[in-house]
């Protein structure tokens, strides 16, 4: 093979047998290598898809919300005890409205009940602060006081979660007609079911749940007979002993159709009681509990109650913060880039600045938080938790990103353009501002937007300057106390109640929408104006 030309025997064929064998091996190695690459990309994509699915899956339930409808007369006594029709006083009179609705509910379900525990259970169907919108609405239109109005109130988070299937695994079964009823509502009744098979189904359902759960958990079964809900105490053959839960206080008649709701978790293991479930089911049949789109997620500010919490304040806080960030980082970043790329003479000083900026871009974001805490808050005495400080910190954080992106864009403009301008007698500044910067503008803009997107998603440094504070009001300016979306997400994710989970996921989606928008703009800009030299 070492000879310059091949032997004649090789003419017409390509390669010896040994070479062909070797070639086969080489091609196999080729395929393997290619496969590794595909695998890697597959893993990365699967990870992304999993992430998105898990978040969207969680979030989907947060975008709908169950509301409880009330049809009440706004009793002036309760709503406006002072009688002055002072809007502020009305809006602040949360307890008055609360009582009004509580009474309305109690009238329907527990008329004349005095057991405070039982009442509290009923009142737990919604949270006190949920009446706030009603109060505000009334305050705006005081003339509706005294008239009958229909109101919608957010259902308590646990019950909402229960309806969305979050509290316990459950199973609905039709039990068919009942043959026979004995006993009283107060002491418990025994019913005999006509359909043995249905009873078997119920039993097996209970059994399955029991097997599935750990420890001493006893699955529960709620049975509906007509308008009344009972709790299943025991079942023996076709006869079940039931106790009264809620609903019409009438003995069910034989022949009534029965249905059951089997719950995996026993009452003790749940945040929702059997009775509350029964009430909810009754309200639902009445059409008073309905699932609606969760507008409060966008219109409300933060709240200690997940069903009332929204992202409005955080979104506005983020916007204020971004405004400050943009005002600091973009002009300064671009000018600094122009200076370094076009004017700075190469010496140790500029080398130092250069190294310094590159390093700064790679400094962990939390360090900027420390800087903000130490300099802006401790040293300069600026207030904590305000967009001004957050914006400054984030501005410094993305400054190197903007500088580097701008420099890259400036560098991409070929030196021949500068030469050309200098060659016709333009000064350096003219060459830069007439030619180089306009040509680099799309790149600079793209870089700036991407930098801003990064700032928008940044969390850690803001934690350290106190932007994690609870903010119930939409901030009016950069010096108002506020929080930002990512921090809100962090805060919600640490919430103890399970209802925070979908809420957090929903907030994440709001954040992602903003980010996707910004990146889309950047991509469009890049596609539209990108110039290859």
């Amino acid at each position: 093979m070492n000879s310059p030309a091949p032997s004649p025997s090789e003419k017409g064929s390509f390669g010896s047998a040994a070479a062909m064998k070797r070639l086969k091996q080489r091609h196999r190695a080729e395929m393997r290598f290619k496969l590794y690459g595909q695998l890697a990309i597959g893993i990365a994509i699967v990870a992304l898809v999993t992430l998105l699915i898990s978040i969207f899956g969680q979030a989907s339930s947060a975008f709908s919300r169950n509301v409880l409808t009330f049809d009440v007369r706004l009793d002036a006594e309760q709503v406006d005890p002072s009688g002055e029709r002072d809007p502020e006083a009305i809006a602040r009179n949360v307890s008055g409205f609360n009582l009004l609705l509580q009474d309305n509910l109690a009238e329907d379900f527990l008329p004349g009940e005095t057991d405070r525990a039982r009442l509290r259970e009923l009142y737990g169907m919604f949270t006190r602060l949920a009446v706030l919108p009603i109060a505000r609405k009334t305050a705006e239109n005081p003339e509706i006081i005294g008239t009958g109005q229909e109101f919608r109130v957010a259902l308590a988070d646990d019950i909402d979660l229960y309806l969305k299937g979050g509290v316990s695994e459950r199973k609905s079964l039709k039990l068919g007609e009942i043959q026979d009823v004995t006993g009283t509502l107060d002491d418990g009744i025994d019913v005999t079911f006509a359909d043995m098979k249905a009873v078997e189904d119920l039993r097996s359902a209970l059994e399955t749940f029991r097997e599935r759960s750990e420890g001493d958990n006893q699955p529960a079964a709620l049975i509906q007979l007509g308008e009344t809900w009972f709790r299943l105490q025991d079942i023996d053959g076709r006869t079940a002993s039931l106790t009264y839960l809620a609903g019409a206080s009438t003995m069910p008649a034989a022949g009534t159709n029965a249905s059951t709701l089997v719950l995996e978790q026993s009452e003790e293991n749940r945040t929702v009681s059997d009775r509350q479930i029964a009430w909810t089911m009754l309200l639902k049949e009445d059409g008073r509990v309905k699932s609606v789109f969760n507008t409060s997620l966008f219109s409300h500010s933060d709240s200690t109650y997940p069903e009332l919490a929204g992202t409005a304040a955080a979104v506005v806080g983020s916007l204020w913060t971004m405004l400050v960030t943009a005002l600091l980082a973009i002009p300064v970043g671009i000018f600094a880039a122009v200076y370094l790329e076009e004017f700075a003479t190469k010496n140790r000083m500029t080398d130092l600045i250069e190294v310094n900026i590159n390093n700064l871009a790679a400094v962990p974001s939390i360090v900027f938080g420390l800087l903000g805490a130490a300099v802006f808050i401790n040293f300069l005495g600026l207030p904590r938790s305000v967009p001004l400080v957050g914006g400054l910190v984030l501005g410094l954080l993305v400054l190197p990103t903007v500088i580097i992106a701008s420099r890259a864009a400036l560098k991409a403009v070929p030196p021949s353009i500068r030469d050309a301008a200098l060659g016709v007698g333009a000064s350096q500044t003219q060459a830069v501002f007439h030619h180089v910067v306009p040509l680099a503008a799309p790149g600079i803009l793209t870089g700036s937007i991407i930098g801003m997107a990064r700032a928008l998603g940044e969390t850690a440094p803001l934690l350290l300057i106190g932007m994690v504070a609870f903010v119930a009001e939409v901030p009016d300016g950069p010096t108002d106390e506020s929080t930002v979306l990512p921090v809100l997400i962090y805060k919600w994710s640490t919430g103890a109640e399970r209802a925070w989970e979908p809420q957090t996921a929903a907030a994440i989606i709001v954040l992602l929408v903003f980010l996707v928008l910004m990146n889309l703009i950047a991509i469009i800009l890049r596609r539209r104006f990108e110039r290859r030299w």
Binding site: M1, A5, P6, K11, G12, S13, F14, A19, L23
Partner: protein, 272 residues
């Protein structure tokens, strides 16, 4: 006396007469498309062995594209589509049974810009023989490397620093290293795509000299921007224009008495 007359021309073999016997690569009806754009129109061309054939023509005339058909480098460009037959020693290189990887070990290529691998000089040369299993031991490999470097006229310049990186050489040396690298896998054909366009006149002259020496062993095809270079190094010249082969013949004839008026105009600096 007549003997003397013969003697005077002996440095130039009379190719015209012996051509048919010495054809190494026979291209027939080659069309090349880049996407929808046709770059080469039905070119047929037979390239002689042990001679330098040069492709000339104004830029965009398809000479490089055509060159890259011969070792199927157009395969690496996704939009490129080649049709027609190219026979090398009678075998169609576009046949499915022909592996481009093996083909390229028989048809070496040298590029416009010297592109040594970022490895030592030794490894630059040894890389090809290694992947093709052309040397079975360290000693044999050493021999292959030395022989390739010698043939490329680079041995004396680098023998004391075979472990130095290939990129440490000067531009002209780098290009000769690339030629040595191509030679090391014992090709039969060497394609050169404007091998001197990135070099200064002195380095260019060295490469031309080398090409002239290599002609004795290989079939060399060179694409060049410079008519002068084609005139200097090649025995046969093909003139391309707008993707078509306008004229193909002995270099001397092309440069002193071209048949086609387009060739004439191009060569004499008239145009169109």
């Amino acid at each position: 006396m007549d003997g003397n007359v013969e003697d005077f021309t002996e440095t130039r073999p009379k190719q015209a007469h012996t051509m048919s016997e010495m054809i190494k690569v026979d291209c027939r009806n080659i069309d090349v498309f880049y996407g929808d754009k046709q770059a080469i129109y039905d070119i047929s061309l037979a390239i002689q062995d042990r001679a330098v054939t040069s492709f000339i023509g104004p830029s965009g005339c398809g000479k490089s594209t055509f060159l890259r058909c011969i070792n199927r480098m157009n395969d690496t460009i996704e939009t490129a589509k080649v049709s027609g037959q190219i026979y090398m020693d009678g075998a169609d290189i576009n046949d499915h049974s022909i592996d481009p990887v093996l083909l390229r070990s028989r048809v070496g290529m040298v590029f416009q810009k010297p592109n040594p691998f970022p490895k030592s000089i030794y490894d630059n040369i040894a890389y090809g023989p290694r992947i093709h299993g052309l040397a079975s031991g360290k000693q044999e490999l050493d021999e292959v490397v030395e022989s390739a470097l010698r043939k490329a006229g680079l041995w004396d310049e680098v023998k004391d620093r075979l472990q130095a990186p290939g990129t440490s050489l000067s531009g002209g040396q780098q290009q000769r290293l690339c030629i040595a690298r191509a030679i090391a896998v014992s090709p039969e054909v060497i394609l050169m795509d404007e091998p001197c366009s990135a070099l200064d006149p002195i380095a260019t002259a060295r490469i031309e000299e080398l090409i002239d020496e290599l002609r004795e062993r290989y079939c060399i095809v060179i694409v060049t921007h410079s008519m002068q270079q084609a005139a200097r190094v090649s025995q046969r010249t093909a003139f391309f224009h707008l993707g078509k082969l306008i004229e193909y013949g002995d270099t001397e004839q092309i440069f002193t008495n071209p048949v086609d008026s387009k060739t004439q105009d191009y060569i004499t600096g008239r145009y169109g």
